[in-house]
Amino acid sequence: MKFGVIVFPGSNCDHDLIYVLSEILGNDVVELWHKDKDLKGVDFVMVPGGFSYGDYLRSGAIARFSPVMESVIDHCNQGGYAMGICNGFQILCEAGLLPGTLLHNTQHKFICKNLYLKPATRSTIVTSSLDSDRVLKIPVAHGEGRYYAPDDILRQLNENQQVIFRYCDQEGHFNSKANPNGSLENIAGVTNAGKNVFGMMPHPERAADKLLGNEDGKLIFKSILNSFVGA
């Protein structure tokens, strides 16, 4: 399977993703420079975390107009797969490929720590191989991760099972204490109506190597790979 990882000025999780997808999981991975329009025939576009364009104006607002994003928008509108992690999630929301937006954390602080989440649906390729009761420990690192969508959009997300992950406590309970940033309904990740575009604030690529003592994130990438093998 061929993945493309976009590199913007200010991306800083691009190489973590490339390492996990190629070295650990054995896939072809190419870098996609933000100024290029050619997606090099990839099956799956990854939009990495970081601070693209210094987070100027709003996180993701400027990156969204990069030449490569025009191709990503076309790719997704034709049913192609893409996933944004952290800043990548913010970029995909700004691009209108994912519903809602990410606001400043309620306490206006940058949060960098391990958190717990559980899949909220198994109806997507990102979550289909996950155990719905298994709590995943995945780090977050963001200042603007408070997921927000207007009421009507939120209702649609719930009705169509478009929420892919929610923050929970270590025991797997969804409650306000386990909500790190004030996200609506503990939402940590969502998908679009077509379920081919995904976004999540936590960083599975930072928890996918045995050497780091936590491989929970690998399960998420493996779910994607299993879906493709099964297709």
């Binding site: 104006l57 709003r58 607002a61 107009f65 700004e94 809602g100 937006t101 606001l103 400043h104 954390n105 309620t106 306490q107 206006h108 927000y148 969508a149 207007p150 004030g182």
Partner: protein, 86 residues
């Protein structure tokens, strides 16, 4: 014609503004208890060339909608000031 647009972008009223809230509470520390409900947004100025004020307004509105403001979380308003052509 040349115009300068003065654009104000504010978080939507329904949304919590953590920055504004923190500043609100520090007003108490300054002994300014009568100041409450601080909300913080952005002020942007830009220059626009257009053949009429209506055209300039349409251009700035387009810029606000497509890039400067995210209407899921922000509202905007602007005023145009005509300046001497260079």
């Amino acid at each position: 014609m040349e115009f300068i647009a003065h654009i104000d972008i504010m978080p939507l009223d329904a949304l919590l503004d953590p920055q504004g809230k923190a500043v609100s509470s520090s007003m108490k520390n300054l002994g300014l208890e009568e100041i409450t409900n601080v909300r913080i947004g952005k002020h942007i100025t830009l220059q626009v060339s257009a053949s009429s004020k209506d055209e300039a307004e349409a251009r700035v509105d387009d810029a606000c909608k497509r890039l400067l403001a995210n209407q899921i979380m922000e509202k905007y308003r602007f005023e145009l000031e005509e300046t001497a052509s260079v």
